[in-house]
Amino acid sequence: MATTYPSPDSTAPSARTGTELLVLLAAMTPEQLESVLANLTASFPEESLLIASPVAMPTDSIPFLRFVVAPAATPSWTLTAADFVSAYQLADKYKARAILMLGSQSGSLASSAICTLANAVLTTPTDLAVPCYELPPHAGLVNSSIIYPLTRALFASRVRFPLAVDLSLSLRMAERLAGAAHRFTAMNQGEAPLWPVNEAAAAGFSIDQFDVGPRVQPQPGGPDLNTILPLVTGSLFSDIDAKAAFWQRNRPLPPARNAMSMPPAPATDAAAEIAPMLQAFRLAYTNLQEIWSLVLPPNSLLGLKRLAATDAAAFRMPESLWARIVFDFLLAYRLRTINRGHLLGALIPLYLAWVASHINITASGTNPESHIEAVAAAFEAEKPHLISRWRWPDRFNP
């Protein structure tokens, strides 16, 4: 495999007999680092660990812990292609048996959570262990509205956070991800996100997820939805396009796990919260009709027309409508119906409409997770709509 970045190290590999667990850490403050290392050494013998980090290590405080300097990656709110290339290169070099990747602000993860994730790939046949975070209400809604339901419907995985910033990987999983990542790093796109759950599903590898409790989520550098949503959906849509031959097979969904304990939505002034979202949606309904009509079939456009005329208090986007909207945007992305940037931009006001609907629904007492599960179920139910349109993308359809 080509080396994307040089990886200087302070430990000669020949001196090692093989590492059990390579821990690849994101750049973090010394305090966070200390917390993570304390958590790790509380769960694993120091000699079984190899810590890779782009920043200098406090070697004096934990003398028996081995360190290696990881390639400096651009700080990111998610794991990137460059991270996966580095992970595999280091694991291969130091003969690690498994890899634990901990993203920014992983110091907020409980020690037991780290231990659970790592042990999954060390002591069980799991290839990919993914955390299930406990997030505050209304957090991670791009994931809840698009990433999770799409991944669940298409890749038959119930992983709740497919773009988790912490993961543990078997060596073969790491190799596969590095292969996928190499396509991006070869084009100097090392910051591109990757989709480990999709890769694992396509490879037939085993996936497991574990409740890890709360975690401070790293935030994107710019909190601009206009940047983040197209970035994430564009990357996910491309990956789905590349794996079409896989997900168009009928695969059973694994049994539902116990519902995540999500705190109920706090009593807030939903009307005030959703007002700007509805304003954006209604403005877009006026301005983006031309684009939407290139992407969406008549029934969806009719549904949006009804929504645009609905009062804020009664604003509810039907789950099936949202599922079809996302599927039709995915299809238009594949077909390049319009410029992909413009296309994904045109999805933003629709996403805001979904968020407004979600806030309204949860404000009325519905548990947020129940609503998200209902949305995911709608994606599964509408999957035939996507497949039929994917295979026969005729605009003459209902």
Partner: protein, 561 residues
Amino acid sequence: MKKLASASDPLWYKDAIIYELHVRAFSDSNGDGIGDFPGLLSRLDYLQGLGVTCIWLLPFFPSPLRDDGYDIANYVDVNPAYGTLDDFKSFLDAAHQRNMQVLIELVINHTSDQHPWFKAARLAPPGSPAREMYVWSNTDHLYKDAGIIFTDTEKSNWTWDETARAYYWHRFFSHQPDLNFDNPMVMEEVLKAMRFWLDMGVDALRMDAIPYLVERDGTSCENLPETHRVIKKIRAAIDAEYANRLILAEANEAPADVRPYFGDGDECHMAFNFPLMPRIYMALHQEDRLPITDIMAQMPAIPANCQWGLFLRNHDELTLALVSEEERDYMHIAYSNDPRMRVNGGIRRRLAPLVDNNRRRIELLNSLLLSFPGTPILYYGDEIGMGDNIYLGDRNSVRTPMQWNSDRNAGFSKCDPARLYLPIIMDPIYGYQAINVEAQLSDSSSLLHWTRNMIALRKLFQVFGRGTVSFLNPANHKILAYLRDLDRGDGSHETVLCVANLSRFAQPVSLDLADHTGAEPVEMLGYVPFPTITEAAYVLTLAPYSFLWLELQPSHGNPTS
């Protein structure tokens, strides 16, 4: 420097969609009336959008062009009319960037009589290595059992050369002297030419006319053991020096004679399925599956790393060399009632005119092309239903410029129409103003869109390129039904039931699918679930010329395998 293979899977050709085109006919960038590599490069996005994964280029080497480039005068250069070597490299890189492989011609049976080797041979003393690059004789009675291929133009396979004071052997036109593979220098030169292109990154080679490489008296001079030894040497050289490359054999022979060209997986990776092609047309016109099932029953098993190349039409005439005299008569009457439609015993027409421009027939034939065991090869222009011009000589009837739009010269060239290498099709039915890419791209119901969708659908199912085939035997002979099956290697199977109505009228059919009891057929184009298969006969009704592809999905606890 030797370039690495563009394909990562050694069996890439099994999943490929091959598109055959002539650089000359595709797109002209410099307004000289002749297509060229920069023009072709500018159309790569179109081919990628169509779903093509491998581009087969007809000969583009320096040549007097007396046989459309199959008379090569220099194996290691580009005909200046089509561009330069750098233009070719740019095209190759651009194709690879789009994940498309490139297949070129390795025409080694013969050269042009304008090739420097032949010019030198004529002057060289008899028996010298230079002279022996070709096959000479003092008499034209040698190899009398070898047939003549171009019966419309050639009376003998020998031609007297006044300079050499001897006859030279040519299995094709008299201006195409055959190389002499009994001379080791010939093999050396052939390998040099091959390495020249493979080093550059070319992915695949079509070996033209390979049954005729070696001659022996008292034989038909076809398919000789010595010929297979030549092919094995070429293959061994490729395997030793390159990864993931392909040799495609052009051997217009009966099934039993084509099979040896695969060897034990150590000769050609692919061979055209010549015997099948005319039977598809015959079955369609007779509205009877027998011609197809009969020839398929004769198809020998081939090594696991080998593949058939399937085609409906190509740059040559629709060859009838492999059918009986009666069948040939039938095909002539059915498909070429005007004698101008025939050449060399075959039929020089394009796909759409062959089936009277009937959209459903075109779709049906393409459905067979895309679902029979093998790799489909599309001929340029057939994806939009281009027509032919039977008033042009030889096989030029099907080699007219690609029709891109309704502008001057069909968007093929900006030149004065009189400069075009061949005239554009201009009749009211197939003319460029009615049939062109631009119009069909803007029409979502066009044949182009249909073809694109079907190609995309096929690419989703590896079973079509890699699976086995077994024919069903329903009582209604107007129905052709077969199962494609691929063992995925993990205990599961990918199974597809294909049912085609060869008739112009609606037809019922009862299929025995008891082996798949419990499976749930899902119609693949629309993802429509059909009734679950039971032990009872599975009854379907098909509209005229319609076809169904049904994926047999395992039901819960009852896998189709």
